[in-house]
Amino acid sequence: MSTLGVTGASLVKDLRMEWRSKDAINSMLFFSLLVVVIFSFAFNPTAEESRRIAGGLIWVAFLFAAVVALNQTWARELRNQVLDAYRVSPAPPNALFLAKTVGNFLFVVVLEILMAPLFVVFYELRSVGPVWQLLVVALLGTWALVVNGTFFAGLSIRTRNREIMLPLLLFPITIPALLAMVDATTSVLTGEASPDFWIKLLAVYDIVFTALCLLLFESVLNAE
């Protein structure tokens, strides 16, 4: 089976499991809904203020929600020693990594599509800048979160305190990407600055870390 074939098969399996259980999407949805409500109570912003803080708010909510789903990514493969079976099989490790990453990417994108109307309603958001730029920022930013998140989730299931370890590893490394997402989103929403630099930075971040993940995943998967 080719790399793409294995990736496809693994991805279809993950998507089917998610479709039947809806574990990841439900927990992420409810979690980010809670964050939206709590932030609204905590800051009680006016429409003008919320346009300024929305960039930070949206991405912090998605970052926290993504961690919830990312933690479940590999845990499911530990049951019945599926991961060990994968390790001894001749399938390329990067195919598994790509399948997991694309799967998580799709989950988080679905979450964003479902949550976007809620943000608009609760925070009276109206974009001053062009909306298509937000789309680019969302796609690049989500990939940045998910590619490192999937990799670090793979690291942290090997540690003693699995669920706490993931944010401890992911957040420091994600700081520049988070800064770029937040500032690009705020620039578009307020229409005060151009998000071009931040979009480029996100693209560079995505390329650098996707390459690193693909380079190092085999070592991590086979770590004894």
Partner: protein, 229 residues
């Protein structure tokens, strides 16, 4: 080996005592900032040693992933720990100086923020080492070290853009700040002393790490024997 360690410790202590005397007494007092400027002789060398340690950590981690030699993993662990300590000294002496001179403890300026993020990344590296189980630690830590090192230039780029309106720190020792010759002399000797101190710490910690590794494998061997009997 042991002899070398025994000799190098008193030499380093003597060197540090001498440079402290130079920095605190011999060096001329700065005109506008006064005595608080003397912290500079500790602040900048600490930053240099921290940077050096993180660089060694990166090289050792890459080497470990390539060759899988236990020595390079021990070096990576040692240099990360020493780097975090010196980076903490850098982060503590900075605000101590900034408060009287700038009037604020902290500003989210490019250099300050990058240093803080750097510190956070290597603290999480140490946390990972602590919590990773058994034989996997080395590979997981080495992989994370590569990620951390790759992240630093991106952090610096992003924050420099984010905070362009802020003045850059009034740090001496740069190209345009022009340190007085008497100060430069003291500064350079301090730089040498701190580098020696940093290398000594890494060296001692490296030896300790190697002994820990030896102890662990001895325990494992013993357990295996117990099973086979």
């Amino acid at each position: 080996m042991k002899k070398l360690t025994l000799i190098s410790v008193p030499i380093t202590v003597a060197l540090l005592a001498y440079t402290s005397y130079l920095a605190l007494i011999v060096a001329p007092t700065e005109q506008t900032m006064g005595d608080v400027q003397r912290i500079f002789y500790y602040h900048v060398p600490s930053g240099w040693v921290a940077g050096l340690c993180f660089f060694i950590n990166f090289v050792a981690s890459a080497l470990y992933l390539w060759k899988r030699s236990p020595a390079s993993d021990a070096l990576a662990a040692a240099s990360a720990e020493v780097g975090v300590v010196f980076c903490a000294v850098l982060l503590i002496t900075g605000p101590l100086w900034a408060r009287p001179v700038w009037g604020i403890w902290w500003t989210w300026d490019a250099r300050l923020t990058t240093t803080l993020v750097l510190w956070l990344i290597y603290v999480s590296y140490l946390v990972l080492r602590r919590f990773a189980a058994g034989g996997q630690t080395q590979v997981l830590a080495a992989a994370f070290a590569i990620f951390g090192f790759a992240d630093v230039p991106i952090v610096y780029m992003s924050i420099r853009w984010f905070r362009t309106q802020h003045p850059s720190p009034v740090m001496g020792g740069g190209e345009n700040s022009g340190l007085a010759p008497a100060m430069l002399h003291v500064f350079l000797i301090n730089l040498v002393a701190f580098t020696v101190l940093g290398i000594l710490f890494v060296w001692l910690r490296y030896q300790l790490q190697m002994q820990e590794q030896a102890l662990e494998s001895a325990h494992a061997q013993l357990a295996l024997k117990g099973v086979s009997r």
